[in-house]
Amino acid sequence: MINYSAFLPELFLVMAAILILVVELFLTPTSRRTILSWIAFLGTLAALLSLSCLSGSCPAGCNLGNGTEVAFNGFLKTDGLSLFFKMVILLATLLTLLMTFRYFKTHNTPYPAEFLAILLFSASGATALTSAQEIITLYIALETLTISSYLLASFMKKDKGSNEAGMKYLLLGAFSSALLLFGFSYLYGLTGTTVIAEIAKSLAMQASSPLAVFALILIVGGLAFKISLAPFHMWTPDVYEGAPTPVTAFLSVASKTAGFAAFIRLFWVGLNVPALQPVWVGLFGVLAALSIILGNLEAIPQKNIKRLMGYSSIAQAGYISTGFLAIGPMGLTAVLFYLFVYLFANMGVFLAIVIVSNKTGSEQIEDYAGMWKRSPLIGMVLLVCLLSLAGVPPFAGFSGKWYLFGAAISKGYVWLALVGMSFSVVSLYYYLQVVRQALIVDPKDSSPISISPLEKLVLVACVVITVTLGFWPKPVMDLAQAAASSLF
């Protein structure tokens, strides 16, 4: 008997994706985009609501189980931690769907059904990755996410940038998967099992061997590609610039969140043994510092806002890795909270980018001149969300970084926290370049930008959440603490 509730959200996503592919055959080209978008939206919403039922404390009282669901001999376990990650991923998917609707108004594609279906398949891979307790499951979920992402990134067939983004992403992604798998194969060779908890038991009884360290380096390298940690970040700016904007937004949040979920399962549970822990902690310390330094410095000369967000996301991955190094409930809570904050700040900015480039047809930062006068709301979103990403005090990004660096300092990584803090100041420069264009410079073209009511609602929600969590982080912190307690 299979326990379906362990993968209920994935089931909803996959069913919606298949439904989209089937229903598309019966629709006329004029009506189908709206109907298919609604199916995708409802499927994702159902998956999101099912998380609340699975958590065991549903406000509506429709509980399924008590918060931990196991399926396939324990290969897939949905606990509080994976529910939090799934929530972030599914919220990102919902916002991506909203952007998709606007994006395809100007960038016409004859294949809206395929785009939506692949997006949902990709999201199902990301959510499954957060529950994987075993290496084969983890690898399959990871590849479901990334192979779909290659297709999404290169979806605009007629666009040179999109094609190039897809090719670069694919070649480097396939290469990093091969590294990761080679590492996994040695891990299997050392322990004789692929279950992460069993690997930990078996490794704890062994002394450190060169083979284990070699496997570890391969695994760190392979996974660091996926969350774009420097020096494995060279694909990020090109893919972020070339891919369709909704896909960029999806990659920047959903794919990164899933990557961190895999990191936590694999390293905190499987490789957290005395012989190996100092090695990977050292490696990650270097990678996190390099990402923060390189990401922030290379973002400064950028002229294209999507490319700028690409470098910014490298730096953000570095900050989150700082919290990842502080193994323990405090570090995990900080990582979860920051991912939540990052979700709304980043998605707000990307929604603004989609709306603006829909009107102006440009992604250059100089074309954001006077955005404040053309649409006060977009000016507001850029101000609040970008300053939050920079970590300026009243906004949520500040409290998020406070927790991250606080956790790192409590575990003795003072140098890393100092690097993070000082380069947050550097990051303020390039974020403020955009804000300066939007708020201070006079517009070249002052025609107003129209925003649909739903988009207005989401933009306001992003601003409100980003401001509120800065003053009052408690609700999300409580949620993150509850999620973290399922691992410790």
Partner: protein, 104 residues
């Protein structure tokens, strides 16, 4: 009964992996890079089967992983070739160096 020691398989796989890695790093043609990746994945498969033989063949973990790796490699190759054909139609080249529309 005498059989080939596991270590020999591991030597073979590390040689195969290095050839693949070398191909990925020095080749300019996207399809050659992809072939390098396939070699690396085959090295992984040899590793899994060798370790499965070393541990316990009856649990089937190693062989099952190999089947999944082959399947996913096939999916990856299908997507890769589709994207490379699309690139070729656009730019009349599949050289990684010549495809540089995106620049910072």
């Amino acid at each position: 009964m005498n059989s080939i020691p596991v270590l020999h398989f591991l030597y073979l796989s590390i040689i195969l992996f290095s050839i693949g890695l070398f191909g990925v790093l020095i080749r300019k043609n996207a399809i050659s890079v992809l072939m390098g990746v396939e070699l690396m994945l085959n090295a992984v498969n040899i590793n899994y089967l060798a370790f499965a033989k070393y541990w316990n063949w009856n649990t089937l973990t190693g062989p099952v992983f190999v089947v999944f790796v082959i399947t996913i490699a096939a999916a990856e190759a299908a997507v890769a070739l589709a994207i490379i054909i699309s690139i070729y139609r656009q730019m009349k080249s599949t050289n990684v160096d010549e495809v540089h529309y995106l620049r910072g």
